[in-house]
C-alpha cells in the first residue's frame, strides 16, 4: 500500500484518528489527583538514627512515621492503619521537605512542624502534645505527663497513648521513661533503640540506668535547695560536690528542698 504521494483516504484518516486513542496515561496522574483531592497522604523515606523511616503527611500536617524496610510494606501498613492511601511525594516536594524533616530529627531549631492528630482522642492528643514539651537531651517519667495534663492517676493510659504514638521521633515519646528511672519500652524498636536515640540526643541513658539501679529519682543542689529530674538542665550545671540525690519527692521535701519550677518534678 503506497500512499506517500496521495491524499490519505478518509478511511485511512479515520483509522489513524481512532488509533490515536492508544496512549498510556502517565503513572504520576493518579497519585497527583489523590494528593490534590486530599484522598491520599504523601510520603517520603528518611534515613534516621533508628534506620529507614517513612514519613506521611497531608494538608493538616504529619500523619504518620513508620519504621519499615521498603515502600511497599509501608504503604500496605499505612493503608491498614489509617484506612486511606499513601502515595510517594513528587520529587520537588520531597526535596523541599526532606531537609526540614532531617533538621527536626537532629533537633535543630526550625519552625515547629504541624501534626495531624485528628484520629486520636482528646486524651491521646494531650499526652502527645505534652511529650512535645520535653526538651531534647532530657527525659520525663510517664507519671509526669499524667500529672501535667491533669490526669495524675492515668499513668497506664499515658503509657498506652505513647505506645500508639503515630508520629514517633517527631513527637518524642522516646523521652518518656518509667517512674523508677528505667528507660522502659519503645514501640519503634525496643529499649536498645530508645537508648541509642537518647544517647544521640545527649540524655546520657547509661547514667540514667545507673541512677535507677541506685533508686535515685531526683537530684538537687545543696546551695539552692532545689531538686530536679536528673536530666533537667539546671541540675546538670551543679558541681558533683554540691549535688545531692533523693529516692523520692517525700525525702527531698523532708530535707527542706523545693521542686524545680522548670522540670516540675512534683
Amino acid at each position: 500500500m503506497n500512499m506517500n504521494r496521495d491524499q490519505p483516504s478518509k478511511r485511512m484518516l479515520v483509522r489513524a484518528l481512532h488509533d490515536l486513542r492508544a496512549v498510556e496515561p502517565p503513572a504520576s496522574l493518579l497519585p497527583s489527583v489523590l494528593r490534590a483531592t486530599g484522598l491520599a497522604d504523601s510520603y517520603l523515606s528518611l534515613e534516621t538514627p533508628v534506620g529507614t523511616v517513612f514519613v506521611a503527611w497531608n494538608t493538616q500536617g504529619i500523619t504518620a512515621v513508620l519504621r519499615r524496610d521498603d515502600a511497599t510494606t509501608f504503604t500496605e501498613d499505612f493503608a491498614r492503619q489509617f484506612q486511606r492511601r499513601a502515595v510517594a511525594a513528587d520529587a520537588k516536594t520531597a526535596s523541599m521537605l526532606r531537609p526540614a524533616l532531617e533538621a527536626a530529627i537532629r533537633g535543630e531549631r526550625k519552625p515547629p512542624l504541624a501534626f495531624d492528630l485528628r484520629n486520636l482522642s482528646e486524651f491521646e492528643q494531650a499526652v502527645l502534645r505534652k511529650a512535645l514539651e520535653i526538651p531534647r537531651g532530657q527525659v520525663r517519667p510517664y507519671g509526669w505527663i499524667a500529672r501535667e495534663i491533669g490526669r495524675p492517676r492515668a499513668v497506664r493510659a499515658v503509657g498506652s497513648a505513647l505506645k500508639h504514638n503515630p508520629i514517633p521521633l517527631f513527637i518524642p515519646c522516646h523521652r518518656v521513661v518509667l517512674s523508677d528511672g528505667q528507660l522502659g519500652q519503645y514501640a519503634m524498636g525496643g529499649t536498645d533503640i530508645k537508648r541509642a536515640l537518647l544517647q544521640v540526643e545527649g540524655a546520657e541513658p547509661e547514667l540514667l540506668e545507673t541512677l535507677a539501679r541506685e533508686h535515685v529519682q531526683y537530684l538537687g543542689s545543696d546551695t539552692t535547695n532545689i531538686f530536679c529530674f536528673p536530666t533537667c538542665r539546671h541540675v546538670r550545671r551543679v558541681t558533683p560536690e554540691h549535688r545531692v540525690s533523693f529516692n523520692s519527692v517525700r525525702e527531698a521535701v523532708a530535707r527542706g528542698y523545693r521542686p524545680c519550677k522548670v522540670c516540675r518534678p512534683a
Binding site: M1, M3, N4, R5, D6, Q7, P8, K10, M12, L13, V14, R15, A16, L17, H18, D19, L20, R21, A22, V23, E24, P25, P26, S28, L29, L30, S32, V33, L34, A36, T37, L39, A40, R84, R85
Partner: protein, 190 residues
Amino acid sequence: MPEEELVLALAANPGQAFDSLVLLWQQRVYGFALRLTANPQDAEEIAQDTFVRAWRALSQWPPERIRAMRMKAWLYQIALNVFRNRIARRSLTVVPLESPDGRPVIEPSDDWRERPDVAAESAELGRQVAASLVALPAHMRVAVVLRYVEGFTYREIAELLEQPEGTVKAHVHRGTRQLRNALQRERVGV
C-alpha cells in the same frame, strides 16, 4: 471495576471509590486532553484538574444524585471546560512538533510501536495526524477528536457541546477535510 458497579460504590462511599473512578477513566481523559493539546504536560495538567473538579462536585452530592449520573458525559464535560478555560487564559504552551534533536515530540506509546500488526507506515501517519490535529481551530479539533478519536455519536457530541447536530456534523466534516489537506501537503512536501 465496571461502571455500574463503580457508580454504586461511589454512592456508598465516594472517598473510597474515587481512585477506582480515576483508574477507570484516566486513559480516556488523558488521551482526550493529549489529542486536544498535543502536549503531554498540558494533557496531564488538564486530566488532573478534571479529576480534582470531579471530586469536588461528587463529594458534595447526595447518593441518589451520584446513582443518577452519566459518568462519561459528565467527565468529558469537565475536561472540555478545563481545556477551554486554559485556552481562554492562553496558558497552553505552544510546543514545536519536533524537539531540538529532531525526534517527534508526539510519539506513539511503546506498546503501540511494538505491536507487530501496526506497520511503521501507519505509526508515521498517526504522528502526522496528531500533529495536524492541533493545527485545527479549537471548535473543529474538539468535534473531530470527539467523533473519531473518542468515538462519540453525533448526538452525544451535540449534547456535550450544546450545539445542533447539523453544526457538529459540519465541524467534523470541515475538520476532517482540513486534516486530509494538511496531511497531503506534508506528504507532498509543499
